[in-house]
């Protein structure tokens, strides 16, 4: 853990900005993703990968189905948070993907078995949507994390039971789900989700070369193709 943190510090300044640029690209696909995933297509996409990955994807689908059956959304949060925190090891993008910043789809995350903070947040976000949590209650949040006495660039998933309520934080550094007030180590900077975006663009992105211009868009296009 200490190794990760050192590296995370070293690139903190660089990371926030490109990520914010990428935010500009949250168009379209989010709305399509908001209604969960296509299980058959997801299985089909996984079939091209290793048996271990296939097992992991199967487990993810089962977990989401199981979570969807839970009456209390807090229980769903716990199931999803636990699943990814346990299965995925934290490693830098430069090690996993050979790039300074890479936003992986849940399928890629499970295939590699490793990822960094935004990969956790993305996988949890998509799984919760699949488990029937409304999109309006979820936000991806850029935070400044005070970790071991040093500020870090970090991303977490926030759950708002009501629009004005205090959110619950799903994090990979601290695997326990806590209300925001109990996380003094985190300072929120900016949040977003897939809400309020027009639906017309979703269908046209496939042929649009501009999709490839940002990490975020790239991720969403890949995820959609995989069945999310």
């Amino acid at each position: 853990m200490s190794r990760f943190v050192t590296r995370a510090v070293s690139r903190a300044g660089r990371r926030i900005r490109p990520a914010l640029w990428a935010l500009a690209w949250t168009a379209g696909l989010w709305s399509a993703l908001a209604w969960g995933w296509d299980q058959d297509r997801l299985t089909e996409s996984a079939a091209k990968l290793s048996p271990r990955t296939q097992a992991a994807v199967k487990a993810m689908i089962q977990m989401a189905d199981h979570a969807a059956a839970m009456p209390d959304e807090r229980d769903r949060l716990a199931a999803v948070n636990g699943f990814f925190n346990q299965r995925v090891a934290f490693r830098d993008d430069i090690e996993v993907w050979g790039q300074i910043d890479y936003w992986a789809t849940p399928l890629e995350l499970l295939d590699k078995g490793a990822g960094d903070c935004e990969d956790y947040a993305i996988a949890k976000y998509m799984s919760l949507l699949a488990a029937g949590v409304p999109q309006s209650r979820l936000r991806m949040v850029y935070v400044r994390a005070q970790f071991q006495g040093r500020p870090q660039a970090h991303m977490v998933l926030a759950y708002y039971a009501q629009p004005e309520a205090e959110p619950l934080i799903l994090d990979n550094i601290n695997p326990e789900i806590r209300p925001a007030s109990l996380r003094p180590d985190l300072t929120p900077v900016f949040s977003f989700n897939g809400e309020g975006l027009w639906s017309g663009v979703g269908a046209t992105t496939a042929g649009n070369p501009l999709v490839r211009l940002s990490l975020w868009r790239d991720l969403l296009a890949k995820a959609k193709a995989e069945g999310f």
Binding site: T187, F190, N193, L197
Partner: protein
């Protein structure tokens, strides 16, 4: 559709399609680009504004101020801030919507679909709603319209340049193509003409092949004509002198006397080498032959130089010269006598030639001609050396009435249409009528009889009224054919072709008739026309044959072989003169001559008919010679199948 027109359509279609397609594609992709740019601007600005608002610690006043500042400083249509429940907290929008300076239909045709930029606003962990932002898009249509106009202008210019280039290339292609087509049409119409080879390789090959074919056809024709000349010479001419022998001369003279378009008065000169036997004994065979050849040479000049003149050797010592013109016999006979005196001088004295020359009305029978000429000859024989005896009949009363009166009579008859057509059938092998020969008759005296062409045509010719008469005959024939649908043909005098307006007027007459009637009409000219007015004859064919009218030569004989360019004339049929075909049943040589004439004419895809056939045996012999049809007294007497 013609080839050139098809290519034109293709070029125009391609240019039009590329201009329209180019404008459409460029406008469409420009619209896509502008739309994407506007969308990007919305999304980016919404995110940037949301990021700034998220740093204001939830101070609504400050956030509203920020929104106002952003709205006022930028080009926005609207900026809205909604809270988490969707209720509007603060909003700014443009009061007067922008108007695009582009046609309304253009705006309607290319609607812009620019989504607003949306981003979430938060205050620490607290969500405080979202920002929805729309940029101004009115300028997009204006820019799009201007770009479309300039693209269209440029592409149109390129299109025009392409069109002009295509026109130049096509016109260069068209010339050789037209030439080749004209040549091909000429060949189908029996005009074998060579043309210049064009530079376009494909067309050059085609034209070269056509030219070769035409030249080969000509060579074949010329070989046949040459053969025919030889045959003619051997069969119908006197061996020693090369002039027509008696039977041939009499047949030719008979035809000349019966012809409608001959002169009113004509001349006949008989020559006799005196004391042929005595000369033979005194000078020997060779010198006598020399004398005979000298006479023949002096005579031959006339038929060679003047169309219609006839020369022949009637028997061992007698020669004859026919002059188809009035008032020339005296001078001609005098010149002939002078020429003979000079020519016979070196054969020594004692060689005497008697000349008897007469000028009579042409309507006299042949016996009268010979009787008169013999009488003059007998008188001349009484002298020594070369002696000429000339007798001219006094001018007839009718001619004496005065030229002006005649002209008035004829033109009145034509103007008042006191005219009718006679009908003589030309029948085929099956006794079916192929067409009716229709000579024109005029009633010169309003209360008198209709009179045949032989009486008035020579005068009409002299007064240049033959074109009027021929046109009237054509009009009558068209009328009659329209009523009974029977094929007819009318004569055109060679002199008529001198009238510059004849062809145009004939074309007008024919064009007014329906197509089936036109196809049943034939125009025929005497053989000399093919020599004297060859160009006009060709022009007549070019103008009238495409309308369906048939064109033929009548009174054709051995002279056919002398028409150098018969293969270029463009004819449909030839009628062989009675002087060629009469007596064919009794004369194997003549039959052979007729047969080879038929072969030669057939090779030019002409139909061959015989004229003036009087005898059933002759008719049978002519059918054996493969003729297509026969006319004359025998044909008129046949029982005719409809």
């Amino acid at each position: 559709m013609s080839l050139i027109r098809q290519i034109w359509c293709l070029v125009l279609g391609a240019v039009l399609a590329s201009v329209l397609g180019g404008v459409a594609v460029s406008t469409w992709s420009l619209r896509e680009l502008l739309q994407t740019q506007a969308q990007l601007k919305n999304a980016d600005n919404a995110n940037a504004l949301a990021l700034a608002l998220s740093q204001q610690k939830g101070d609504a006043e400050l956030m509203s101020l920020l929104i106002s500042a952003q709205f006022d400083a930028g080009a926005y249509e609207s900026v809205r801030w909604r809270d988490g429940g969707g209720a509007q907290v603060f909003e700014r929008h443009l009061e007067t919507p922008q108007v695009a300076h582009a046609p309304r239909w253009f705006v309607a045709l290319l609607p812009l679909d620019v989504a607003p930029g949306v981003a979430k606003v938060s205050d620490g962990w607290k969500a405080v709603g979202e920002i929805e932002l729309r940029g101004q898009t009115g300028y997009v249509h204006e820019a799009l319209w201007r770009a479309t106009l300039s693209t269209a202008t440029w592409l149109l210019m390129v299109g025009v340049v392409t069109g002009v280039a295509a026109a130049i290339v096509l016109s260069r292609l068209r010339r050789p193509l037209d030439t080749a087509v004209r040549q091909a049409e000429g060949v189908t119409q029996g005009r074998f003409e060579t043309v210049l080879e064009p530079r376009v390789p494909e067309m050059r090959k085609l034209t070269s092949a056509m030219n070769t074919m035409v030249v080969r056809t000509r060579q074949m024709f010329e070989a046949q004509a040459e053969q025919l000349r030889t045959l003619h010479h051997q069969l119908l001419c006197d061996e020693l002198t090369g002039l027509s022998h008696r039977r041939q001369f009499v047949a030719e003279l008979n035809s000349a006397l019966e012809r409608d378009d001959g002169p009113l008065r004509a001349g006949l000169v008989l020559l006799r080498l005196k004391d042929l036997q005595g000369l033979n004994q005194r000078l020997g065979h060779g010198a006598t032959d020399q004398a005979l050849v000298a006479i023949a040479q002096a005579l031959r000049v006339y038929p060679e130089q003047v169309r219609g003149c006839l020369a022949g050797r009637l028997n061992g010592s007698d020669f004859a010269l026919w002059l188809p013109a009035p008032n020339v016999v005296g001078d001609t006979a005098q010149a002939l006598a002078d020429a003979l005196r000079a020519g016979l001088q070196n054969l020594g004295s004692g060689v005497g030639v008697a000349l008897g020359a007469v000028e009579l009305m042409r309507d006299q029978p042949m016996s009268a001609w010979f009787a008169a000429a013999d009488a003059a000859l007998a008188k001349a024989e009484q002298g020594e050396g070369v002696v000429l005896e000339l007798r001219e009949a006094p001018p007839s009363d009718e001619v004496a009435q005065g030229e002006r009166a005649w002209r008035a009579l004829i033109s009145d008859a034509l103007a008042q249409q006191r005219s009718r057509l006679l009908e003589f059938p030309l029948i085929g092998r099956e006794r079916q009528v192929l067409h009716l020969e229709c000579p024109l008759q005029l009633k010169l005296n309003p209360v008198g009889e209709f009179e045949p062409a032989a009486r008035w045509l020579p005068l009409a010719l002299r007064h240049r009224l033959s074109a009027e008469a021929d046109l009237q005959a054509l009009a009558l024939a068209l009328q009659a054919t329209q009523q009974d649908q029977r094929a007819r043909c009318v004569n055109v005098a060679p002199a008529t072709l001198n009238d510059g307006s004849f062809i145009a007027r004939a074309r007008e007459l024919v064009q007014a008739a329906p197509a089936p009637v036109r196809r049943a009409i034939g125009l025929e000219l005497a053989e000399p026309a093919a020599v004297q007015h060859f160009e006009t004859l060709q022009e007549l064919g070019r103008q009238l044959r495409p309308l369906g009218v048939q064109l033929g030569l009548e009174h054709a004989g051995a002279g056919l072989a002398q028409i150098d360019r018969l293969f270029q004339a463009g004819l449909d049929y030839v009628k062989l003169d009675s002087s060629v075909v009469s007596g064919v049943s009794a004369d194997v040589a003549r039959a052979a001559f007729v047969r080879s004439l038929v072969v030669m004419l057939r090779s030019l895809s002409l139909k061959v008919y015989a004229e003036g056939v009087t005898d059933a045996l002759d008719a049978q012999a002519l059918w054996d010679c493969e003729l297509d049809g026969i006319t004359g007294p025998w044909a008129s007497a046949q029982e005719i199948k409809p």
